[in-house]
């Protein structure tokens, strides 16, 4: 009898862990410095912080290194870490007008007060692999840095001092009366729930929906937003404004009556203006509404997708998947989706046995009937 009881589960797990470690370091390359991961995988780190729902670059860098570049695995590490931390405070509500801008553009207008600030973006680059990266030269890099900084510092005092004001494009439209808030609920600015504490009910409040999306997986959200742009839905979005910059993190002092600034967080914020075609006969004007998206770090596609989904979920109909709030919010959490997708690898033989029993019985009875 060749059968051996499936003992040695522990040994197998141990060996699997050793193999993972071996695969990570078996190459002859130099071991990655956490600082290097942090600096040179900036956007990867930002994605992980956003989807892990924890703003900590060092931990995100460690997670990215530990997971060998698997973004969802890394976000998972952050989320698990997050679960061990008690909730200390809730930050106060920030007006994003105060953002320390790195990048700010609007597709709705050719020019906007404060200007179109491109900031660090690859949007206009041609996607050609840069072969210089195979043999990056430290000296050349230093030289570039030096020259670039000199260029900036050579600007006149005035140019350096003057930082333009960046009023929100949405506010400009509001002033002109072009933005009509049909829905009272959208005016609400106080969050009414904390999804990490209260869980998620359906229909979810807008606050709950935004919270779920803020930590949602970028790919999943892009897929759903894309579906709505392509025709599975009625959203015709225009990017009113996209901002990337630093927001102050403030709390109310637990004892004194004042605000305390704890630091800054880098966020990406998108406001999408959507033209709604109302069936309402009283409406002889098309109505503009706003979809809002924001996330940790520099992640433009996610913020835009979030804003589009914010709009699509608020739509009157829910024929299209992206318009079905329960469908969207139940399926965009990367840790949940990936975890459950992976769980099929767990043994299911007891349940399978039960199904086999049923089917065999049905078939046996079917045969008896035929005879």
């Amino acid at each position: 009898m060749g059968y051996v009881a499936v003992r040695g589960g522990s040994k197998a797990v141990e060996n699997a862990e050793k193999l993972v470690e071996y695969f990570r370091i078996k190459g002859e390359s130099s071991l990655l410095d956490i600082e290097a991961v942090k600096d040179q995988f900036r956007l990867g780190i930002d994605k992980i912080m956003s989807e892990g729902s924890l703003y900590d670059r060092d931990l995100a860098a460690a997670a990215l290194k530990q997971s060998e570049g698997d973004k969802i695995e890394a976000s998972f590490l952050l989320r698990a870490f997050r679960a061990t931390k008690p909730r200390a405070y809730y930050s106060t509500i920030e007006k994003t007008n105060e953002m320390r801008i790195l990048r700010r553009i609007s597709a709705a207008f050719k020019d906007v007060p404060g200007g179109q600030i491109l900031g660090p973006t690859r949007d206009y680059t041609t996607r050609l692999i840069d072969y210089k990266l195979f043999n990056e030269d430290r000296e050349a890099v230093n030289k570039f840095k030096e020259e670039f900084l000199e260029e900036i510092n050579n600007k006149s005092e005035d140019e350096l001092e003057s930082r333009p004001e960046f009023p929100k494009v949405i506010d400009l439209l509001k002033e002109e009366g072009l933005l009509i808030h049909n829905d009272e609920k959208k005016k609400q600015i106080k969050p009414d729930t904390d999804i990490t504490r209260d869980g998620l009910d359906f229909p979810a409040s807008r606050s709950a929906a935004l919270q779920v999306m803020a930590r949602g997986e970028t790919g999943g959200m892009i897929t759903l937003a894309y579906s709505t742009m392509r025709g599975y839905g009625n959203i015709h979005p225009v990017l009113g404004e996209l901002r990337v910059g630093y927001l102050p993190l403030k709390i109310n002092h637990p004892e004194k009556d004042e605000e305390v600034v704890l630091g800054e967080v880098l966020v990406t914020e998108a406001e999408v203006i959507s033209q709604e075609f109302s069936d309402n006969e009283d409406q002889d004007m098309p109505v503009f509404t706003v979809g809002y998206g924001i996330c940790f770090g520099h992640n433009e596609e996610k913020a835009i997708a979030m804003a589009v989904l914010d709009r699509s979920m608020a739509a009157d109909s829910s024929d299209a998947p992206a318009e079905d709030q329960e469908f969207v919010l139940s399926h965009i959490d990367g840790i949940e989706a990936a975890g459950f997708t992976a769980h099929w690898k767990l043994p299911h033989y007891v349940t399978f046995q039960s199904v086999l029993d049923r089917i065999r019985k049905s078939q046996a009875e079917g045969r008896v009937k035929d005879e």
């Binding site: 008690p86 909730r87 200390a88 405070y89 504490r197 209260d198 637990p254």
Partner: protein, 200 residues
């Protein structure tokens, strides 16, 4: 602010112990379990300290509480400090602290949950309970109880029990009860059928 700075190892053990008793007894209404007073120097008597222990084990900033005039302002302040839960009116409170000196009909004002979310019904913690294991006059039956159990309380809580019956008459709506003194605890779940002296 919602960190409980009071969660050290001793307190972690303490709250796990109390919770263990509460879970065991809410799953088995009518049985009696043991609890210990909140292990801290304060001005409250031992029985109130047991109420504090229950509060400390369950409450935090996500839930609210109400205490009757059987408790002092200082008690409410203390709860707010050790749990960061906030006091509120009876009709909104998730956790209600009472004693056997209070008019039981107060409970009729408390939350019973709704059909979609029956668990939102309040939990009522009543101190001052006197046990008597020889009293066979009160029977409980229902989930958690093998056929029937005698609720081992002194024969002086008829009004309370009738009020509980009344408020739990529309299952799954209802309220769940923890009855205790300084070292003993028993539970009446909303699923429990109460039979007093042979009359239902």
């Amino acid at each position: 602010m919602s960190i409980s700075v009071f969660d050290n190892n001793k307190m972690i053990k303490y709250s796990q112990n109390i919770f263990n008793t509460m879970l065991y007894n809410m799953s088995r209404p009518g049985e009696v379990g043991s609890i210990k007073p909140y292990p801290s120097e304060n001005e409250f008597n031992l029985e109130v300290q047991s109420t504090l222990g229950i509060a400390y084990t369950l409450l935090d900033t996500e839930v609210s509480f109400y205490s009757t005039k059987s408790f002092t302002e200082k008690f409410d302040d203390y709860i707010e400090i050790i749990t960061t839960s906030k006091r509120t009116e009876l009709k909104n409170a998730d956790y209600i602290f009472m004693s056997t000196d209070d008019n039981p009909e107060l409970i009729l004002e408390a939350k019973k949950g709704n059909l979609n979310y029956p668990e939102r019904g309040a939990s009522v913690i009543i101190r001052g309970i006197e046990f008597d294991k020889n009293n066979k006059n009160i029977s409980l039956s229902g989930p958690g109880i093998k056929d029937e159990i005698h609720l081992p309380l002194k024969n002086k809580y008829n009004k309370l029990l009738l009020t509980i019956k009344k408020i739990n008459s529309e299952y799954p709506l209802g309220i769940d009860f923890f009855l205790h003194n300084k070292d003993s605890l028993t539970c009446i779940a909303r699923t429990s059928d109460i039979l007093i002296g042979g009359d239902k």
